[in-house]
Symmetry: C2
Subunit: 230 residues, 2 copies
Amino acid sequence: MPVHQHIRVTADAVVLRFNSKEGMMVLLSKRSIPPHIFKWGLPGGFVQNDEPLENAVHREIRDETGLRVNYLEQFKTFGAPDRDPRGRVLCVAHVGLIKPSAAKLTLGAGNKEARWYPVRELPQMAFDHAEVIAAALDHLRLRFRHEPLAFELLDAKFPVSELEKLYEWLYDRMVDRRNFQKKIHGLGLLTTQQEKLKHPLQGRPAQLFSFNREKFTELQEKGTFVEIFS
Amino acid sequence: MPVHQHIRVTADAVVLRFNSKEGMMVLLSKRSIPPHIFKWGLPGGFVQNDEPLENAVHREIRDETGLRVNYLEQFKTFGAPDRDPRGRVLCVAHVGLIKPSAAKLTLGAGNKEARWYPVRELPQMAFDHAEVIAAALDHLRLRFRHEPLAFELLDAKFPVSELEKLYEWLYDRMVDRRNFQKKIHGLGLLTTQQEKLKHPLQGRPAQLFSFNREKFTELQEKGTFVEIFS
DNA sequence: GCAAAAGTGTTGAGTTTACACCCATGT
DNA sequence: ACATGGGTGTAAACTCAACACTTTTGC
């Protein structure tokens, strides 16, 4: 049985970036070969025989888009026998998070065309990749409540409103600004920075904060049940 | 690249059962072939080329132990290049939950030796299977808070104390009996049964309840944020 | 009657929600 | 001066945590 097994394995990534103006965006690359040629798909590809899965994902993201994510986590393996017309191909799907300042695509750098698309306005997708993206967001909705992943989508210094709007986008509901600040500051998770946001497009410049990871791990180790968002 | 890829894929299961006397138990089967011959490992094995992953798991559990789980969910894929001495073998790991009344092993039925082991007193394990079991429990700790998976580990009719002790075991802390009952009944998730527990080993016979799944989906659809346990 | 587990309410503390006005900046 | 988003406090509702005695059964 093992001798006759012929299953190929890809490692693919749902790479996300977020800002309050555009919402959540996903990194797609245009396929230049069949199957699904010219459709958009997730960056990713076949894993090398002796290569760890995460390496494969980092490599493929870099090769196809020139970007480097700062957070990467595997979340599900897609294995329906007919999901790839070439035969049995498993897709070990990952989510990657990237900060806005590191998300700029230098077009034409790679040999593939890569673009950011709004997660809620996807083009026609190759394979089952629309389903993979949906599953990635479900996964994040579970994790964001108790783990400080949101900060992986924000620059090192950020206004509270950006954090708030990220949660609003993900859970698709409005959040009271005052209550949100009370909660997040009450936990002591944000460190006030000297600077304020320069040249806001409109309105009063916002105070910038950074994530206090030491405080967070301290709380976790003390056994406090940390719920960032409910 | 894809042509030369040679990666094999197994689907394995961390099958769990629970009761308040013995705690959480995991189903292991004794390996009868190398590598790791005579060590204990998770039920599972190579996926057939055209076989869905879940099917493979159900098949292997049945063949190796004679049991059928009533809940099965994939939770992580283990892919370290050196985790199997035979070469590159990915393990798509699942958790299976089974009710106590369906968990009796008919020894000698299969050709492999299968046994239930207390999760906190594992024998020496094959491959990275100890790590897989730990990851399964971490996964369940995330899911049990908001999803009604606990009921998959209890018989159709169960005393509240059994549910409570399951949560106590998983989160490793004591829970106040009165507060727990208030919460769970407050949500309206349990239906009182006619019967009481017959012949308790000691003490007053407990009222039996069943899980009210309709009520649960109703709450979910109403958009109520259902937190079974905090 | 004794041992063992089940059942049951109240109170105080803490948390969550709802809500509206002034502030700092760019144009 | 006006438009835009940022910053801030309080009171009421609700939820959570702590706590002990009585009941039902088997032996």
